[in-house]
Subunit: 317 residues, 2 copies
Amino acid sequence: MSFDLALIRAAHQRIRPFIKRTPVLTSEALDELWGTRLFFKCENLQAAGAFKSRGACNAVFSLTDAEAANGVVTHSSGNHAAALARAAQLRGITAHIVMPANAPQSKIQNVGHYGGWITFCEANLAARETACARVAAQTGATIVHPFDDLRVAAGQGTATIEFLEDEPALDFILCPVGGGGLLCGTAVVAKARRPGIKVIGVEPALADDVAQSLRAGKRISIPTPATIADGLRTNCTGEKNFPIIQQYVDEVVTVSEEGIVAAMRELWEKLRIVIEPSAAVAYAAIREGKVNVAGRRTGIILTGGNVDLTTLPWMNP
Amino acid sequence: MSFDLALIRAAHQRIRPFIKRTPVLTSEALDELWGTRLFFKCENLQAAGAFKSRGACNAVFSLTDAEAANGVVTHSSGNHAAALARAAQLRGITAHIVMPANAPQSKIQNVGHYGGWITFCEANLAARETACARVAAQTGATIVHPFDDLRVAAGQGTATIEFLEDEPALDFILCPVGGGGLLCGTAVVAKARRPGIKVIGVEPALADDVAQSLRAGKRISIPTPATIADGLRTNCTGEKNFPIIQQYVDEVVTVSEEGIVAAMRELWEKLRIVIEPSAAVAYAAIREGKVNVAGRRTGIILTGGNVDLTTLPWMNP
């Protein structure tokens, strides 16, 4: 399978009935502040509150009926888990979700809401992978990895097809990087549609495995990062994703934890939308001067909006 | 001037370059909860964060050049003040804003951001009206009342032109009621475009002057209400608005303070957007069973998104 625009277009056709076409928002106040036009693709307003619905739907609806009959399985405690449960429910099949026993109640409820079957395991990557493989062996379910799966990455890339339809003349496109599925899909679409565009990935400095990997020329694994951006706490970018990132991404920059919180609050105030910390990293890169956007029409992918509203990070003492 | 669809269409043409076409959002979770389809017209995502930009732009861009040269004046400490200052800035004229000396710093900054000239006065309606009349007399500025002005009400109605273009088959349309400008414009557009639609206004029970007025058959004035919905703290609906409300609005219902806070939080969580308390009253009416929407395609106008993010109402002890 060649990971190209045609593949991602086909994914878009496949998932269109099951996802939202999310709006692109702008802010006069932010444009004035940065001396340019900023365009925000609001995947926090996507079904289940994150772009993950795109990749999950593409994976689930790519299965043959025979494969689908055995269901799907993944290990995730975050937005991919809920998105996969939702996609499976839409196809009428079973989603097995392996989660650490200490996962937050809200994440467990999200998966339960979509009828996912939860298998609890110990809270480390080895235990999660073992449990996932065991469920797959026992049930015949297809493993749908959160990012190291080209059907998933192709689904994530569909956001950028819509983005460039709505705003064709972008100079830059910025997106958060966790495992790299979104970044791959974004970069391949952006470069195919608009070769002069600059594609920039943004990581928390505490979770800079992709920046390290690009410098080293090979995938570097890091201990589980303690960043507030819980969607970006990956140890290592995907084996399938990394060569695509090397080929198509212009740059990966990093941002501080304080910068993430400040960016999150500023976007809540100025765009009047709810985004999670992971979604704020791209704008944090602008605020911290890691990317100079003055005079460049800049697209930013806001990835998710699932937060606990009981307390907010800028309220912590 | 006849207050009809043609007038509001003309307003839409006039203001289109200066406002945003706001998105209509939906939520699978809310639709499931209420057994119907709910459509939210997101005027919290409007320029300056509220539908008030529509009415203010229509008033300002309706002035002759001779009138405009003397500027505009209003008394308001809320979204209308910022919206009028913004509209005046766009036309390159002066906006005088009369505000109580105890207005929150954030509201003062909002007006200052758009270059409005602030005149402080005592914190009561008589002092505000006197100061406003004095500024008008001294400067020749045109008074733009926050709601009792048909140019303003016509501007507010333009949101419903867009809403029914995007979602033509609505059975109900719900909107918050303060002074009644938005409700007038909404009702006239909705009934002209779709005669069978039911138009429902929603007030905080603490600020039920319009519900009282409809029962009495005449405008009733109440003491300044202490509702958390600060945009709806009006004493009395507009003289020009009331007969239009009597003619076109099917019903006005009221909601509790607790209901407003709960509705606000639920919409932040499920729609993943920031709305202010005033914007939550229409959905609160559904939650409190004041309107039975089961099986009825229901449009809800979310009016504004200007809140202080330092604390949130559901966090108060």
